[in-house]
Symmetry: C2
Subunit: 174 residues, 2 copies
DNA sequence: TATTGTTATACTCTATAACTATA
DNA sequence: TATAGTTATAGAGTATAACAATA
């Protein structure tokens, strides 16, 4: 048992170690996602002429057939309102989504996938799923499960201002 | 023991399940990093007036005091050469990095942090580390370790065209 | 007054392709 | 010929702030 008086030093050391551990973890997480994201972004553009944000917006709507308001999309995608307007404009121009007026609040819209948008999304999503499966094919199923569970904890316990407001926890992982 | 003949069906089922598992994993990974990234991006901009790509470029250079060539930065950051030129231009204008001519190959440069750039990066990195530690403070150290290890495996076993060329495996996790 | 969504603006990132200089 | 890096260009994403319409 330790009797000399270095409790503060020890505490600081542990603190610093924890800081480093978290940073290492984050950098590794980031480099993994950047690698995958870069590949997916390129393929989505080359094969479907679509960008990741647009694909994401459609994915959000696919999970919410009843439609989502602009503000909700903004929160879920973590970008400001003006951007959602822009992305929605483009998708609407391509007839993939529609703005449905909200009957109860005339300031608001409900954005929905059109039938064509839903078809297009399903087609892209299937191919997208194959790409992902191929990329992760080097890992054992058991490890993927573990990783999934740990990431769920990250998502639950993450300390950010955003998580407080964020409602996107309900659904992902289709 | 199963004796009726559904091996193909079973295989397909397992395949589909694996596809779904991988997709679920990827979506969870993505939503975690997007949340953290959005927060970090905002804070870096507000507190230091810097963007994530610029911060990343400086981080690469900090790990390579001998300097990196434009092409290497391009590979490591997974963006095309023209972009590296642009980002480097801006950082050079702010006197944070310099292009040192390569004595052996007069087409090439070695990009390095200036002393001021190194100081600025260290200051930002320290604060950045605190942010990250704070965000991950809800998770136990043991879980962070597990997660780190699993992500290392992702990085190693990832099946993408990029990983073949990618040299960024040597270093991250300062 | 507060909220929903849009508009206007400025900046950055990104990819592509043509280009210069050097190897 | 091939390679290292730049330039030119076009298209998107992003944040901020001012704004209109509605609650």
């Amino acid at each position: 048992m330790k009797i000399d008086n270095e409790p503060i030093y020890d505490l600081e050391t542990r603190l610093t170690q924890d800081h480093h551990q978290s940073l290492r973890l984050w950098l590794r997480m980031l480099s993994c996602t950047v690698m995958i994201e870069a590949e997916i972004r390129t393929r989505l553009r080359n094969e479907f002429g679509i960008t990741l944000p647009r694909f994401d917006l459609m994915a959000q709507l696919e999970r919410h057939p009843e439609g989502l308001r602009m503000g909700e999309l903004s929160k879920r995608m973590m970008v400001t309102g003006g951007n959602i307007t822009g992305i929605t404009d483009q998708l609407e121009q391509e007839k993939l989504v529609v703005r449905m007026p909200d009957l109860k609040d005339r300031r608001a819209y409900s954005v929905k996938l059109t039938p064509a948008g839903r078809r297009a999304f399903k087609r892209m999503a299937a191919v997208h799923e194959d790409w992902i499966a191929e990329m992760f094919s080097g890992m054992a199923a058991e490890q993927k499960n573990q990783l999934f569970e740990l990431l769920s904890q990250v998502k639950t316990h993450l300390n950010t201002p955003a998580t407080a407001l964020d409602t996107s926890k309900e659904q992902d992982a289709s």
